[in-house]
């Protein structure tokens, strides 16, 4: 078999959907029903006037499976647009994490020093704990969490990856933005 057919790739996929009941279940059901992987999934409304939400999914699979995932997503009725950020030029990925570290003494000071290096902000403090807020790539957050775990008890809450293409191109523009998008997006229902 062609090695390309068996290499597992990681892709970040942006999906614009109608913000209607059941749409997330439809997307997740597609992944579980067809045995695709979800490494991370984020969703939020991005256009309140047009009632649109944007989902970012990080998934893994062979190139053939990734193509399948995109085609399967695109044929869902409430899906407007599917973009593979990994293949369509370069893109940005960010995650937000809230990291609580419970510790005292020297470890506490070390935690603060490392947080400073990682540009994590302390947003809550007691005498035995900090809560840090940080944004960054998944790897950066992983590295920070590993260091914190060595310095005390740690609890983490993360958003998962959100992504957007670099540059001036608007793949999935907001309807009310001054530079309007290429598609009419009024869903009747």
């Amino acid at each position: 078999m062609n090695p390309k057919e068996t290499t597992i790739e990681r892709h970040v996929i942006g999906i614009l959907v109608s913000n209607e009941p059941g749409v997330l279940a439809r997307v997740i059901g597609l992944f579980s029903g067809r045995g695709y992987n979800i490494e991370s999934l984020t969703v939020s409304e991005v256009d309140d006037r047009e009632n649109l939400s944007r989902i970012t999914i990080v998934t893994t699979g062979t190139p053939m499976v990734i193509e399948q995932i995109k085609a399967q997503l695109a044929r869902l009725v409430p899906v407007y647009d599917v973009h593979d950020l990994t293949t369509e030029g370069s893109h940005l990925e960010r995650e937000l994490a809230l990291i609580k570290v419970a510790n005292t003494g020297e470890d506490r000071i070390e935690a603060l020093r490392i947080a400073d290096m990682f540009r994590a902000r302390a947003i809550d403090s007691t005498l035995e704990s900090f809560i840090f807020e940080m944004t960054g790539s998944t790897r950066k957050i992983d590295a920070f969490v590993d260091l914190m775990a060595a310095l005390g008890g740690v609890e983490v809450s993360r958003t998962g990856v959100v992504g957007i293409a670099r540059g001036s191109r608007l793949d999935m523009p907001m309807s009310r933005s001054k530079v309007a998008g290429k598609k009419t997006r009024k869903r009747k229902i």
Partner: protein, 610 residues
Amino acid sequence: MAQPKKPSARKSGTKPAAQRMSGAAIIMKALQDQGVEVVFGYPGGAVLPIYDELFKTNAVRHILVRQEGGAVHAAEGYARSTGKVGVVLVTSGPGATNAVTGLTDALMDSIPIVCLTGQVATHLIGNDAFQEADTTGITRPCTKHNYLVKDVEDLADVMHEAFYVAANGRPGPVVIDLPKDVQFAEGTYKEPAENLETEHSSYRPRTEPDAASIEEAVRLIAKAKRPIFYGGGGIINAGPDASKKFTELARVTGAPVTLTLMGLGAFPASDKQFVGMLGMHGTYEANMAMHGCDLMVCLGARFDDRITGRLDAFSPDSTKIHVDIDPSSINKNVAVDLPIIGDAGKVATAMLKSWRKLKPRRDKKAQDAWWDQIEGWRKRDCLAYSQTKGKQPIKPQHAIKRLYEIIKDKDHYVTTEVGQHQMWAAQYFQFEEPNRWMTSGGLGTMGYGLPAAVGAQIAHPESLVVDISGEASFLMNMQELGTMAQYRLPVKVFILNNEWMGMVRQWQELIHGGRYSETYSEGLPDFVKLAECFGGKGLRAEHAGELDDIINQMIDHPGPVIADIRVVKDESCYPMIPSGAAHYEMLLGPEDEGSGGPRGAASAAGLALV
């Protein structure tokens, strides 16, 4: 950029004054405006307002089935024999869950269905109310799309959109879940929006193929030395004209044609270019040609596992063109060289036009040699069987063949259940045109044929409709004999009765050492008496000498008939590609060792396949 138009703005000027009416009336009006003539359904508490509206307006014909599963299959039979959308109306809870098998069947076979389900009142949803089920949750993976209508003001739009979604792109079933209070509430009726194909905000499937790809395809076909057309249900779904264009295209190119189980009828079976059905129980010549071709043109089929056999040995030396309306079918199982997204009919038309414009020169010499090779495979006569006459037992193949010979000149429709009889029907019955053959291909639903025949007979009251059945499948939805009795539907049930769940038994024989676990049909009813107690005629044939007479009696009788054809009990269905084997490893009969090893020596991977 054009600003999004509001639907009301789009239609202003022509729009009549808003019509206020109850939700139930909106539903009935929408059905009428969508041209619906028949609804298959079963009443219940959560759809009472709709049934009341039906009673008052008599707007559509309602066919009362005997179980909701039967309603969906009947609607499938109706849809497949007419090309229209089949409509189902069932109640909440058990009504909806009974419909699930039919919905899944329609999804797998891409049949356009709109299924209206009742739901408990909106304020009760989620409270485990009486006859409540999470219908949209349950049916989400087994429908093309579904809706829960919580506001009566959305109802008309949802109704119209459902018909659009069901019928356009790759067709499929759509569920509309209708809470009872929404059926009572008063709302505004809106007429169907025009041009949803171009105006729908998110669902606009591509149907027109890319012109450059069409030319490329035509060039590939012309220069191919060993081409083959592999057509499927997509051609049937694209309408009768698609079959005509496909037939023309195949004829101008001179290439052999094979069809899937779903595609039978898309090309005339009597044409000498037709090499028979392909796949697990396809003909030797079709499968060998698929294996040996250098160009495969797949039109409206999806490289299903029943077709490909072992994937890594599937047609190794061919360039593959895949035409499909659904982009997710491309490269799903088999990597193809030239994908073309579009409607099968439009693609066939475009290819034909392009062929006539380019007037390519075919490699006649190579193609003649290819045909010689195919004729050699054909000479193996893979569908041969021996039938002794007179008081001898009936071979199931012979029963189908005689049925075909006797009814072929009549206006007929054939449905089947699932199993050996289905495969024999596909092998020995010849279909000359589309929409005449209805069988559960993708899901393989036993019990499909009888209700599907009911639907086909409703659509074609004057035609001969035969359900080719097995005794076990028949028992799965035999309650629909009641529907046949009520509407005096002269459906002919032709049961190949071998007292076994034959296909399962065949597999037990092949790969489980002949340990026939639970596959004997114990306690069978007397089918003759069964027919009689439902007001029909019962017939029985026990030996070859009386077969023709029984078939003639069956088709001459003006009402419903069950013909219990007692066939040889231990016959297996050949030819066969054992699961996990390649096309060239086909078994031609019980004595055949196959070229891939001794009979029954399925590969380890093959054992795990169904």
